[in-house]
């Protein structure tokens, strides 16, 4: 689990030097080489197996067919005895220092290993969840954008109906205008015809009155002065007679 901390710190490392840059680059070689894969493959769950912390499992697998399970341990024991007996590994003060340091390190790892591992896992988990949040947010906003787009397309279809309604409006306006003009025309025509009728009536009336006047004039002209005197004398005698009868009755 210390390598988990190493991973957490390595990805935040900004040290100089080709190895330091390589450390950061190794996890970010997307799109830089011609053989990049577009979605980055996920990290492997577990790393290479290591037995007792320092010996890779491959050695045990390599020796298993020939020597079985105890092969590498026998190899280790024999190697150790050879190094000690030939004093290729010399026992001096450093041996005791190394032994005490080794004991402390092993004790520390055994006791605090799991908790440190859990802590590093939590850090990784937070990073991953943050990235996942960003991705989810982006996906959500994009799906919402898709919905909006579809709604806009539906609205655009609705505009066809709007255009139809407006067209109907315009047609109605035209027709109203047309009918108004028809009415106007009929009214004007009627007025002119009425005028003609009135003119004819007027003519007839004038003719009638003129004729009557002419007849009257001629009649009056035909009454001679002698006839006028006779008629006036007759009227006077009639009046006298009436006065007498009226005086007799009263």
């Amino acid at each position: 689990m210390l390598s988990r901390l190493a991973l957490v710190s390595a990805s935040a490392l900004k040290s100089s030097g080709p190895l330091g840059a390589g450390l950061v680059q190794a996890s970010r070689s997307i799109g830089t080489s011609p053989q990049s894969l577009a979605p980055v493959p996920p990290l492997p769950e577990k790393g290479g197996q290591v037995r007792h912390g320092i010996i890779p499992e491959e050695l045990f697998q390599f020796l298993y067919p020939k020597t079985g399970v105890t092969g590498p341990y026998m190899l280790g024991t024999g190697l150790l005895l050879y190094l000690l007996s030939k004093e290729i590994y010399v026992i001096n003060h450093e041996t005791f220092a190394a032994a005490s340091i080794g004991i402390v390190i092993v004790y520390g790892i055994k006791k605090f290993g799991p908790s440190v591992a859990a802590f590093a896992d939590k850090l990784n988990e937070e990073k991953v969840s943050k990235a996942q949040e960003v991705k989810d947010l982006a996906v959500k906003s994009l799906t919402e954008a898709i919905e909006e787009e579809k709604k806009e397309q539906w609205r655009a279809e609705g505009r066809q109906m709007l255009f139809d309604a407006k067209r109907n409006n315009v047609v109605m306006l035209l027709e109203t205008n047309h009918r108004e003009r028809l009415h106007m025309v009929t009214n004007e025509v009627k007025k002119r015809l009425d005028y003609q009728i009135d003119v004819q009536n007027l003519h007839r009336r004038l003719q009638q009155e003129h004729m009557v006047d002419w007849v009257e004039k001629n009649v009056i002209k035909s009454i001679t002065p002698q006839q006028e005197k006779e008629s006036i004398a007759k009227c006077i005698t009639d009046l006298k007679k009436l006065a007498q009868t009226a005086k007799a009755t009263a």
Binding site: L2, S3, A6, L7, G48, V50, P56, E87, V90, A98
Partner: protein
Amino acid sequence: MADKPVPLAEKRLMDVKLGELMSWISTKDLSPNGIIAAVRRGHDRYYNKYINVKKGGIGGIAMLLTSYVVLSYIWEYDHIKHDRWRKYH
């Protein structure tokens, strides 16, 4: 066993026969750039196998520290030789 013969320069180290070892080494790029590239490749392999995983263990850096200790012992051996307990082994 019916693979077509692979040219020498592309064989992996484990497939190289002992007699061809020297010629195999001579086909490798030993210029400074080549050596740096080889070091980077090796580093990437180690990193991606032991450190760049979701649940790594102590082995990733423990192996590095152990190899550092061993290498420094080897480099200091000429000095440590003088602390030997017996002269003849």
